[in-house]
C-alpha cells in the first residue's frame, strides 16, 4: 500500500541523479521563511523562494494572501555596486599665464586630468569643473535676437565686448573670433588681426582663445601673427585642422608658447591622426586640447555626443592619442532653426512660442549634453545659457559653493505641490 518515505530517503535517491524537473507539486499549508537579519540575499535565492511561493498559489485563498502581506516583513538588503577603475587618464592642460610665468593674466584655467567619466565622482572625483569661454568677434555680426540684445552696445569694439563678457556674464575665458580676416568677408590683414588680439589681451585679464575665420588659405598667417602678438600669454590657438596647413599653425603655437586646439569633424580616426601629426611636430601633450566639432540639438547632437563619449572612454581605456581635454563650440546650437526662427515653417506643428525663450535653452541643452559626454570647455554666446551651464556643472562637480537649496526641500512633496 502506501509506503511512507521520508525526505531523507528521497534525498538519498535523488543524490544519484540530477533532478531535471518536478512536475505537479502541490504544497498546502503555511510556509514560514526564517532569515537572519542584516544579510544580503542574492536575487537568485529570492527568485527561487519566489517560485516556490508561486507553486503554492492554488492553495492560498485571497484572505490568506492579504494576511500574508500583512505579515510580510521588509527584506533587509544592502545596495552594492562595483567601482570602475580605468587604466588611462586625460591630460591636464592649463591655459593662460600669470606674471609668474611670463604673462599678464590674473588667473589661469586648468582643464582635464580626469580618471573617470564626467561627474562620476564616486569612481574618481572629477578634478576640474568645466569652464566657459564666451565668444566675441572682431566685427559686428548678425545674431539671433535673443543673443543680440546683450551685445548690441559692444559689437563695434572687441575690447569692450570681451570686457562685458567677463564683467557682466562671468566668463572664465573669452574667445576672440577673427572672422573679418576671411577673404570673402573683409580680408583684414593678419597684422591688423594681431592688433585686435592685443586689444583684447589689454581689455581683460582672463585667459583667451584666439580663433581664425575658418578660411583655410588665410588662417595660417592670421594665427601666426596672432600667436606672435600674444607671446607669453599661453592662449588657446583655434585651430589646427587637416583641411589646412596645420603645420604652420601648430609651429606658431609651439614657438610662442601657446596651447593648440586640434579640430576635426565628427571623425574619431581623423582626430587620432591629427593628434599624431601634432606629436610628430613636437607639440607637448600638455599643450593640446581637442575640438571634435559640435552639432546642434536636433541637427546631429547625437553624433557629437557619441563621438565624444567614445573618445573619452577610449582615452580612459588607455588610448593616449585621444586622452586630451575636449572643447565644444556650443554656439553652434544657434544653427538650429528652432533656436531663432520666429514660427514653425510646418503648418501642422503646435505653436513654437516666442523664439527668445527657445534659443538660450537650445544652447544650454547642447552644452550640458556634451558636458555629460566629456566636454571640459564650452564656447558659448548667450549669457544666461553660459551662466546656467556653469551653475549646473559646478553642482555636478561637487563645488562646495553650490547652494544646497535642493536638500532643504522635501522632494516627495512634489506630488502635493501647488
Amino acid at each position: 500500500m502506501e509506503k511512507k518515505i521520508t525526505l531523507e530517503d528521497i534525498a538519498r535517491i535523488l543524490d544519484r541523479y540530477d533532478v531535471v524537473e518536478l512536475e505537479d507539486v502541490k504544497i498546502k499549508g503555511d510556509v514560514e521563511l526564517e532569515l537572519s537579519t542584516g544579510v544580503a540575499i542574492p536575487p537568485s535565492v529570492v527568485q527561487a523562494l519566489q517560485s516556490m511561493m508561486g507553486m503554492q498559489k492554488e492553495g492560498i485563498s485571497v484572505v490568506s494572501e492579504e494576511k500574508g502581506i500583512e505579515e510580510l516583513e521588509l527584506i533587509p538588503t544592502k545596495f552594492e555596486v562595483a567601482k570602475t577603475e580605468w587604466n588611462g587618464q586625460i591630460e591636464e592642460v592649463t591655459i593662460g599665464a600669470t606674471s609668474a610665468d611670463g604673462g599678464t593674466r590674473e588667473a589661469t584655467v586648468t582643464i582635464g586630468g580626469e580618471k573617470a567619466l564626467p561627474f562620476y565622482n564616486f569612481d574618481h572625483q572629477t578634478p576640474h569643473p568645466p569652464v566657459i569661454s564666451v565668444d566675441c568677434f572682431d566685427m559686428p555680426i548678425s545674431l539671433a535676437k535673443a543673443v543680440r540684445e546683450h551685445y548690441e552696445d559692444v559689437m563695434e569694439d572687441p575690447g569692450e565686448w570681451a570686457k562685458k563678457n567677463v564683467r557682466e556674464f562671468g566668463a572664465d575665458m573669452v574667445t576672440i573670433h577673427l572672422i573679418s580676416t576671411d577673404p570673402t568677408i573683409k580680408d583684414t590683414p593678419a597684422r591688423e588681426a594681431a592688433k585686435t588680439v592685443e586689444e583684447v589681451l589689454q581689455a581683460v585679464k582672463v585667459p583667451i582663445v584666439i580663433g581664425g575665420s575658418g578660411n583655410p588659405d588665410k588662417d595660417p598667417e592670421v594665427l601666426e601673427a596672432a600667436a606672435e602678438a600674444a607671446e607669453g600669454e599661453r592662449c588657446l590657438i583655434a585651430s589646427a585642422n587637416l583641411n589646412m596647413d596645420y603645420e604652420r599653425i601648430a609651429k606658431a603655437a609651439l614657438e610662442h608658447g601657446h596651447v593648440i586646439l586640434s579640430w576635426t569633424q565628427l571623425d574619431i580616426n581623423a582626430q587620432k591622426t591629427l593628434n599624431r601629426y601634432l606629436f610628430k611636430l613636437g607639440v607637448p601633450r600638455e599643450d593640446i586640447v581637442i575640438d571634435p566639432t559640435t552639432a546642434a540639438l536636433g541637427y546631429g547632437l547625437d553624433y557629437a555626443f557619441t563621438n565624444i563619449e567614445r573618445m573619452r572612454i577610449s582615452a580612459l581605456k588607455g588610448d593616449t592619442d585621444l586622452a586630451f581635454p575636449i572643447s565644444c563650440g556650443i554656439t553652434n546650437a544657434w544653427g538650429a532653426r528652432e533656436a531663432w526662427m520666429k514660427d514653425s515653417p510646418i503648418k501642422e506643428d503646435s505653436d513654437w512660442g516666442p523664439s527668445v525663450y527657445r534659443g538660450p535653452l537650445y544652447e544650454i541643452m547642447t552644452g550640458l549634453t556634451l558636458g555629460i559626454a566629456g566636454g571640459d570647455m564650452f564656447m558659448m554666446m548667450h549669457p544666461k545659457a553660459a551662466g546656467a551651464v556653469k551653475r549646473v556643472t559646478q553642482m555636478l562637480f561637487g563645488a562646495k559653493e553650490a547652494e544646497d537649496e535642493g536638500k532643504k526641500v522635501r522632494i516627495e512633496d512634489w506630488v502635493t505641490w501647488k
Binding site: K4, L7, I13, Y17, D18, D30, V31, P42, N269, R276
Partner: protein, 483 residues
C-alpha cells in the same frame, strides 16, 4: 596643394573637382590611346636616384602642336620613381594613382588603366594655352610628389610615336603579367607583417581589418600592397603594420602579433582572430563589406550574398541588408562573416572551415561574377536561388549533387574531416531515465535546513513547512555523469 601656385605654373586649372570630367568628341582636340590606338602607362622603381632627372619630362614623337585636331594617336606614359621607402612591389599602387591625379587636370580626361588607357584633351584646354604634353607630365609629377611624399625623385617619358609605343607595349604587358603572377604568388607565409586598417572605426568602433596577402580588406579597397603603401604614405593614418609574430595556427591563420593587435585596437573587445575561418574566432566587420556570408545550420554549410545583389531572398529568409545588420558593428558574430569579393580568389579562402567545400549556396549574380574562383568540382554543387528557394529544397539539391557537407567535409589543406555529415545528426542526446516516486499525502515532512550560498555571509536560510501537505506528481531525473 595651393591652387594659386599651379595656376601660375600651368595654363590649366588643377582641382579634384574635375575628377569626373568627360571630354566629348565634339569638344575634343585629340584622343590618345583608347580603342583606336595602342596606349599604356607604367610606373617603374629606379633604385639609383642619380638616374632620375627630377621633374623632367621627355617626349618621343609628335607633341600637341604637331597633332591634327580630331585625331587619334598612340600614347605611353612611363614614370620613374625613387624614394628610400619605395620598393618594386609598390609600383602598381603608385601607378594606379596616375588615373586619379591626371583627372584633376581641367580639360584632360583619363579613363581606365594599364594598357586600356583612354585619354582625351579638350579644345578649351588648348585655347587656354596648353601647348605640350610635357606640361601635362610636369603637372602630373608635381601632383604625385605632393600627394605621395615618399616619392623623392620622379621623371617621365611620354611617347606618342606609334611604333615606339607598340614596341614598349610588349614589354609593358610582360611587366603587368609578372606583377599579377607575383601578387597571386605572394602568401601570408612570405611576409613578416600584415597591415591594419581602422578607417571604418568611425562607424564600427571595435572593428579592425587585418589585411594580409591572402586576405584582402572586406571593403575591397585595400590589398596588402595598398595597405603597405598607405602605411608608408601616412604612418599616422588608419593603416599601420602589424608584425605577425609567431604562427599559432597555420590553417586558420592565427598569429600572436595579430592577436596582440586585436586586443589593442578593439579596446579588449576580443583577443584573437583566425584570418581564414568562418565559424571560429572570425574576423570582424564594419558595415562596408562587399559580401555577407551566413551559416545554414540545417545543412552545415555556408551561403553568400553580396551588396547590391538582385537576389533578396536567401534560403534562410533574410536579405543582405538584415544579414548585414547582424554582422556589422565590429563584433565577432558567430555564423556570419563580411568579406571583400577578392577573398573568394584567395587560396586560403575560409580554409579552416573547409573552403569551397563548405559553400552550399550563392546568389546567382555573385556566383557568375566570381565563377573563375570556384573549383571545377564544386561549380555544379553550389546552389543558387534559381535551383532552390527553401531549406528543404536546398537539402534535396545538396543530396542529389552529393555535396561534401552531406557526408562530411574533408578539409583540402590537411585532409582532416571537419564535419560529420548529416547522417549522424539523428543520434540525439540520450533520453533521461525516468524514475517515478510518489510521496503519499499527509506526511509530515520536516525539511532539514538547506544552506544556500549567499553573497558575502554564509548564512543559512531555513524553509519551514508547517502543517504542510506535500504531494509531488513526478520527479524526473537524469543519471548523473560518472555515477
Amino acid at each position: 596643394m595651393a591652387e594659386t601656385e599651379e595656376e601660375e605654373k600651368f595654363p590649366f586649372d588643377i582641382n579634384p573637382m574635375y575628377e569626373g570630367e568627360r571630354v566629348r568628341k565634339a569638344g575634343m582636340y585629340v584622343e590618345l590611346g583608347g580603342q583606336g590606338k595602342p596606349g599604356y602607362e607604367l610606373v617603374l622603381f629606379e633604385p639609383d636616384p642619380e638616374q632620375i632627372k627630377d621633374g623632367e619630362v621627355d617626349l618621343i614623337g609628335p607633341d600637341l602642336e604637331d597633332m591634327e585636331e580630331g585625331g587619334n594617336y598612340a600614347y605611353a606614359m612611363i614614370y620613374r620613381v625613387y624614394g628610400e621607402q619605395i620598393e618594386k612591389d609598390l609600383e602598381a599602387v603608385i601607378e594606379r594613382r596616375n588615373h586619379e591625379y591626371q583627372s584633376y587636370i581641367q580639360g584632360y580626361m583619363h579613363l581606365n588603366q594599364r594598357a586600356e588607357i583612354w585619354v582625351r584633351i579638350s579644345k578649351e584646354a588648348v585655347k587656354k594655352g596648353l601647348k605640350s604634353l610635357k606640361q601635362i607630365g610636369k603637372a602630373t609629377i608635381m601632383l604625385f610628389k605632393a600627394e605621395l611624399p615618399f616619392i623623392e625623385k620622379m621623371d617621365a617619358t611620354f611617347i606618342t610615336d606609334e611604333e615606339e609605343v607598340k614596341k614598349g607595349l610588349e614589354e609593358a604587358n610582360r611587366i603587368y603579367e609578372a606583377r599579377d603572377v607575383k601578387t597571386r604568388g605572394l602568401h601570408d607565409e612570405d611576409v613578416d607583417e600584415f597591415y591594419q586598417c581602422t578607417l571604418c572605426q568611425s562607424f564600427a568602433p571595435t572593428n579592425v581589418c587585418v589585411v594580409s596577402p591572402d586576405r584582402i580588406a572586406l571593403c575591397g579597397a585595400m590589398s596588402w600592397f595598398d595597405s603597405r603603401a598607405a602605411a608608408r604614405i601616412d604612418p599616422e593614418g588608419p593603416n599601420a603594420p602589424i608584425p605577425k609574430g609567431d604562427c599559432i595556427d597555420p590553417i586558420g591563420g592565427e598569429y600572436t602579433g595579430v592577436n596582440e593587435a586585436a586586443v589593442r585596437l578593439s579596446s579588449g573587445e576580443y583577443d584573437s582572430i583566425k584570418l581564414h575561418s568562418f565559424l571560429e574566432k572570425p574576423h570582424t566587420s564594419c558595415g562596408c563589406f562587399e559580401v555577407a556570408g551566413f551559416y545554414i545550420p540545417e545543412v552545415e554549410g555556408i551561403g553568400w550574398v553580396h551588396r547590391g545583389s538582385k537576389v533578396t531572398d536567401t534560403p534562410i529568409g533574410l536579405p543582405f541588408s538584415t544579414i548585414a545588420g547582424s554582422v556589422g558593428g565590429g563584433k565577432q558574430v558567430k555564423g556570419f562573416l563580411g568579406i571583400g569579393v577578392q577573398y573568394f580568389y584567395s587560396p586560403k579562402f575560409i580554409q579552416y572551415d573547409g573552403g569551397w567545400r563548405r559553400v552550399v549556396w550563392m546568389a546567382s549574380d555573385l556566383k557568375a561574377r566570381v565563377a573563375e574562383a570556384i573549383p571545377a568540382e564544386m561549380k555544379d554543387k553550389i546552389a543558387t536561388e534559381k535551383e532552390v528557394k527553401t531549406i528543404e529544397e536546398l537539402r534535396e539539391f545538396l543530396q542529389r549533387v552529393d555535396h561534401p557537407v552531406v557526408k562530411g567535409v574533408i578539409r583540402e589543406v590537411d585532409g582532416e574531416r571537419i564535419t560529420e555529415g548529416w547522417a549522424v545528426e539523428a543520434e540525439a542526446v540520450a533520453a533521461p531515465a525516468e524514475v517515478e516516486e510518489e510521496v503519499p499525502s499527509e506526511a509530515q515532512v520536516p525539511l532539514a535546513s538547506v544552506p544556500l550560498v549567499a553573497s558575502g555571509a554564509n548564512t543559512p536560510v531555513r524553509i519551514i513547512l508547517k502543517d504542510a501537505d506535500i504531494s509531488i506528481g513526478k520527479i524526473i531525473v537524469k543519471r548523473k555523469e560518472g555515477k
